[in-house]
């Protein structure tokens, strides 16, 4: 018996529970080795309204079981995305969500409006880990009101599914999760990278030109599982787990912790077939345990 791995998440019917995480899969036109049959969906690299050059090198540094990145949301802007990538996505057999960014709630809304209805764009993932210029550089994702305002601004401009990608840099992720659920989010992605720093002992300054970077990879997995679990306990909409998934067992930890699906990021850098390997490993686990569908997988979601 081949288990049924299809899931429905935040308005999208997916053929499996494993998506490609934003910023780790480009626009889906690279990674030629990937066995696409296993890819349930892709979240594109984060985009702003206008083109952005990104940060100066060095942009990456490895850390124990992880890596810091400060890419600075380099990207061609919405118009080029519509022209160069969306037409390709239209032909693909899995949905593409666009990871959208802005320096104000209205800029987020504007990006969504421009992409709404463009063939090939299946939905949005709002990245609220961007600096909130209106509030003086704080992050939208740290403040429940700002997070809700961004979500509403996007919600008003599109009928497509809206997912919100939560930042882990908060004391209580449940508060933010409830705020964006209330503002109309269809699903949550948990979590984005953790802010970290690494010092160069030759130059006596940070190794990254941006000083700090976002930590991803297996190092953050236990933290991400906890945050995704806390988010799942706080809301009724589905939660998509992200952070440090390298193998099927890692993805299954997120699913058991209450997530409906997962995203794989850094693992793809190490293993271009990571998504297929994770998908196949989940199928193998389900078959071995005798679960016919993901609904049968036991979840640990105490409400206390």
């Amino acid at each position: 018996m081949t288990p049924d791995l299809s899931v429905e998440v935040g308005g999208l019917k997916l053929r499996g529970p494993v998506l490609a995480a934003s910023g780790t899969f480009g626009y889906g036109t690279e990674v030629p080795l990937l066995e696409r049959r296993a890819l349930a969906g892709m979240v594109s690299k984060g985009i702003f309204l206008k083109p952005r050059a990104g940060t100066a090198p060095s942009r990456i540094v490895e850390t124990p079981s992880g890596m810091l990145n400060a890419i600075g949301l380099q990207g061609p802007g919405v118009d080029a995305l519509i022209r160069d990538y969306a037409p390709k996505w239209e032909a693909w057999d899995f949905p593409v969500l666009v990871n959208i960014n802005g320096e104000s709630a209205s800029e987020y809304g504007e990006v969504a409006a421009r992409l709404d209805g463009v063939p090939g764009v299946a939905g949005f993932e709002i990245n609220i880990s961007c600096p909130n210029v209106e509030q003086g550089g704080m992050y939208f994702g740290n403040d429940p009101r700002a997070a809700a305002a961004v979500t509403e601004a996007v919600r008003r401009r599109t009928k497509l599914p809206v997912w919100v990608k939560l930042t882990p840099m908060v004391s209580d992720i449940g508060v933010i999760a409830r705020a964006v659920e209330g503002a109309g989010a269809d699903a949550l992605s948990a979590v984005n990278t953790f802010v970290g720093m690494s010092m160069d002992l030759h130059a006596y300054q940070p190794r990254l030109s941006f000083r700090t970077g976002g930590l991803s990879g297996p190092a953050i997995r236990p933290l991400a599982v906890h945050l995704a679990h806390q988010a799942a306990r706080a809301v009724d909409i589905p939660v998509v787990g992200v952070g440090g998934i390298m193998r099927a067992e890692d993805a299954l930890e997120f699913l058991v912790a209450g997530c409906r699906a997962v995203q794989v990021g850094t693992a793809t850098f190490v293993n271009p077939n990571a998504i297929a390997d994770v998908h196949d490993g989940i199928a193998e686990f389900m078959a071995r345990k005798g679960f016919a569908s993901l609904d049968e997988l036991p979840r640990y979601l105490p409400r206390d």
Partner: protein, 252 residues
């Protein structure tokens, strides 16, 4: 692009602290072009793969040239024959030898000699006359292997060949291919703006998806060293904006 678990089949020393490792990787060996690289991963080992120029290829195997500079390279040098590493490649765009030219200088500093044996092979196949120019800090750091071609040597301390930099020691040629520390390449760019140079950056994926390997361009913006590079026309690179040393070390 191929992904393969490649057993170590060869290991030889070619200079002080400098080694060649050979891996059985038939598909990569059959398709690699000069200036391309492979991304090598180890389990257990550091999280990210490590990029290495392909030094030689043939007989179902690829060779890479390295020194121990950190955990990854130290671990690779501790491998024994039969131990397996994961090889992803060939990656990147190599040297362009289709340009009309009669002579080519292969200018390398230290480990920058890594892409040159393949470059010599491909250049000869394209009918070019090849001159090697290879430099290092001191005589025993010079790579002892060449493909039987004439070699002009240079050392910073004058202990062998020309006393001075490899860029100063090199003759002009229709085509200059250069590889070495980014600082050396910046000097090469001054002398030969049209040289093809293979740059080094910190890489996340090696396959174009992470945007980690940014190379600042004179026309503004950034390219991906792993995809549009690692070989660039020297004058296209904004050298002051490219980190010239990458001395980061990962610890457990």
């Amino acid at each position: 692009m191929f992904l393969t678990d490649a057993p170590l089949v060869e290991r030889r020393q070619v200079a002080r602290d400098m080694w060649v490792l050979g891996f059985a990787a038939p598909d990569i060996a059959a398709s690699v072009k000069a200036g391309q690289f492979v991304n090598i991963g180890m389990r257990p080992g550091p999280l990210l793969r490590r990029p290495f120029s392909v030094y030689r290829a043939g007989d179902d195997r690829i060779e890479v040239l390295l020194k121990a500079v950190g955990v990854g390279t130290a671990q690779m040098l501790a491998m024994r024959e039969g131990d397996v590493a994961s090889c992803l490649g060939p990656l990147g765009r190599g040297f362009d030898l289709t340009l009309s030219a009669k002579t080519v200088s292969l200018v390398s500093g230290g480990l920058g000699v890594a892409p040159m044996p393949l470059a010599a092979r491909d250049a000869r196949a394209a009918g070019l006359q090849v001159t090697w120019v290879h430099g290092a800090r001191t005589a025993d750091e010079l790579c002892s292997e060449t493909e039987g071609d004439e070699v002009i040597l240079a050392t910073d301390d004058g202990s062998a060949g020309f006393a001075g930099t490899v860029v100063a020691a090199a003759p002009d040629a229709d085509l200059v291919l250069a590889c070495g520390p980014n600082r050396m390449l910046a000097a090469a760019a001054q002398r030969w703006p049209q040289a093809q140079v293979a740059v080094e950056t910190y890489m996340g994926c090696g396959t174009g998806v992470c945007l980690g390997c940014a190379v600042p361009l004179t026309r503004g913006g950034y390219d991906r060293a792993c995809t549009e590079g690692p070989v660039y026309v020297a004058s296209d690179v904004d050298w002051p904006a490219l980190p010239s040393h990458l001395s980061y070390a990962v610890s457990a």
